[in-house]
């Protein structure tokens, strides 16, 4: 550092003593004064600095920008500023924390103050460099802490949201369990009366057939009776509209049987849904299951779709074949229902690693995303009232779940739907 200079004025000494970098530049931006702070911190002595352009002294100054800034100070005669927040440093000067700082140079606020002559013209600009390194470091540390806290807070909010979601799911699954119990109870209650009604109905059907056969036999002997009796009988038949009745009774019986079958099917869907039923693990061939199910539903499919079998080479898997039949049945019937007019259903099976993949692709009407989202929900159906229970895919889903498999759906409205079933080869973990 330079020694005390005896020819300094009191003002200059004062400026020398302040703990702020102070120097003056003229319109050519050459240094005209240079205080002790600048000497000490920049490492440039007064002799070295005075008379030289600031751009020579500090090679990394943003030249065009700074020239404009000085121009404005001279032109307006008003001060200008820089702040460490936007521009951490303007003059590359070492700071007072070489060991504990962690920043590359002095963080600074600067001020450019015009010095005016007696006519009010700015002739020099006084540059003041304030060392704000400590405050800046503190501020940054604070900012880091705040952002860490904010990150933590947002994480907590995510956790809270997840908790709420989990609670929602819990409520949903409790609801489902309750529905399941209810369904099991209802299924059980209905199953018994439906059982005896069906068996009684079988008997009733036979009795009616026999009664009609008896009447037909009487009819064949009718001409052997006296004419008066014959006329009476004919009159009576006309009165009760016997021909229609005989015909209608048979179709009433057929319709009722159909209705009973439907009730039975719904009950068995409900029982499946509530996990009542056979749960015996067996080794079985999926192709056999698929083929036997196809046989059962062929009546529903054959007029609407051509079934394409693209079977791969599959080993037997450990499964509950009767339940899988139910799954295949649901998927095949749905595929057939999705097809309007004529289409195709492709069954594709493959072995992939430790699991088998079964795909059901139809060329049907497809589903919009809002429907796809809900298809596995119990009681959700797009079929008209009375046509579907809304339990088919829900049952399918729970059966696949019991097999520790997965079911995925890919649907494009107007083009078709593909269900992809993935089942593990074996169930026992041992």
């Amino acid at each position: 550092m330079e020694r005390f200079e005896p020819d300094m004025t009191a003002g200059q000494r004062l400026i020398d003593m302040v703990d702020v970098g102070v120097f003056a530049v003229d319109r050519a931006l050459c240094v005209r004064s240079w205080n002790a702070f600048m000497v000490a911190h920049s490492g440039l002595g007064r002799q070295a600095a005075i008379g030289r352009s600031i751009f020579d002294l500090f090679s990394d100054l943003p030249r065009g920008w700074l020239e404009k800034k000085f121009e404005r100070v001279f032109a307006l005669g008003a001060p200008s500023f820089t702040s460490w927040e936007q521009r951490p440093w303007l003059f590359r000067i070492p700071h007072n924390r070489p060991i504990t700082g962690g920043v590359d140079c002095m963080q600074q606020d600067t001020r450019f103050i015009p010095l005016k002559d007696e006519h009010g013209e700015a002739v020099l600009v006084l540059v003041c460099v304030f060392d704000v390194t400590d405050a800046a470091l503190l501020h940054r540390r604070l900012a880091e802490t705040v952002s860490a806290l904010e990150a933590e807070r947002s994480e907590q909010q995510t956790l809270i949201a997840r908790l709420a979601e989990a609670q929602e799911q819990l409520i949903q699954s409790e609801k489902l369990a309750a529905i399941g119990q209810l369904a099991a109870g209802v299924a059980h209650e209905i199953n018994n009366p439906v059982g005896f009604v069906m068996s009684n109905f079988g008997a009733l059907e036979r009795y009616i057939e026999r009664a009609f056969a008896l009447i037909a036999a009487y009819d064949r002997q009718l001409d052997q009776l006296p004419p008066a009796v014959q006329a009476d009988m004919a009159q009576m038949k006309a009165d009760i509209d016997y021909d229609f009745m005989a015909d209608d009774a048979r179709s009433l019986v057929a319709e009722s049987r159909d209705g009973l079958e439907r009730v039975k099917r719904i009950v068995s869907d409900l029982r499946d849904f509530s996990r009542v039923g056979e749960t015996e693990w067996q080794w079985a061939s999926l192709h056999n299951c698929l083929d036997s199910t196809l046989n059962v539903v062929m009546n529903e499919i054959k007029y609407k779709a051509q079934v394409v079998k693209d079977y791969g080479d599959l080993p037997q898997i450990e499964c509950m074949p009767f339940q899988l039949n139910q799954v295949f049945l649901n998927l095949l019937v749905n595929a057939a229902h999705a097809i309007d007019g004529q289409g195709a259903i492709t069954l594709r099976t493959r072995l992939e690693g430790d699991s088998v993949v079964v795909q059901f692709s139809d060329t049907g009407c497809g589903m919009p995303p809002e429907v796809v989202k809900r298809i596995f929900d119990p009681f959700f159906t797009t079929k008209p009232v009375g046509k579907g229970t809304g339990l088919g895919l829900s049952v399918t889903h729970s059966i696949v779940g019991r097999h520790r498999g997965s079911i995925a759906v890919d649907s494009t409205p107007g083009q078709g739907t593909t269900f992809t079933l993935r089942l593990p080869l074996r169930q026992t973990s041992a």
Binding site: G64, R72, A75, A78, P79, F81, E85, Q86, R87
Partner: protein
């Protein structure tokens, strides 16, 4: 809301001083930007701090505003606020010596630089008429990209009944898409000083 901070005569004098001061400011700014500056006739109003957001929303129709504040002191103490619309003053980057691709902190610095030019020219102009010296603190960003109602969120610590004398001026540059409004706000406790300064001014006529 009229707080009767100034007499009618004082109010007229301030209006006149602001008017002359802005003429001078307009010339200075035109010199800096090398371009003609359109300045509105300054409007002097009295408003409570709680009415400021509404007053600002009237000035600039944009939905998001950015504002820079700068303190001034000397014979009269107060704060100047420069309010920018949604585009800020990006169009002035070249004029102010910035590159064309502005980073976030550079955009803030540009706002501060432009505000400083406007505040110092306008207040310098007014101070000159009052024969008073004025000094400035460093400008800082008051609020960035907020709706008008949010501009003074951080000033809620000021008592709600703080009255302020507002001198508002609108700026527009001829060849650049840039506009801003300047509010000079004098707190109620600075009123004695401004009244005396205005009385001195009036006494010279």
């Amino acid at each position: 809301m009229s707080l009767n901070l100034l007499t009618e005569e004082q109010n007229e004098a301030l209006q006149e001083i602001a008017n002359i001061g802005m003429g001078r400011a307009g010339r200075s700014i035109a010199g800096v930007f090398d371009e003609f500056v359109e300045l509105s006739v300054p409007r002097v109003r009295e408003a409570g701090l709680d009415r400021l957001p509404a007053a600002v929303a009237d000035l600039i129709p944009d939905e998001t505003l950015t504002a820079v504040r700068q303190g001034f002191f000397g014979r009269v103490r107060g704060e100047a606020i420069v309010v920018f619309g949604i585009t800020g003053c990006r169009d002035l980057a070249g004029l102010m010596g910035y590159g064309s691709a502005l980073e976030d902190c550079e955009e803030d610095e540009l706002l501060l630089d432009v505000s400083n030019v406007i505040v110092s020219a306008c207040l310098g102009g007014i101070a000159e008429q009052l024969n008073a010296d004025v000094c400035f603190s460093a400008p800082s960003v008051l609020a960035s990209h907020v709706p008008p109602a949010g501009l003074f969120d951080r000033t809620s610590a000021a008592p709600a009944d703080t009255g302020a004398l507002i001198v508002e001026v609108n700026f527009r540059l001829e060849r650049h898409s840039f506009a801003c409004s300047l509010l000079m706000m004098l707190p109620a406790d600075s009123m004695g000083a401004i009244r005396r300064a205005l009385d001195d001014f009036l006494a010279n006529f």
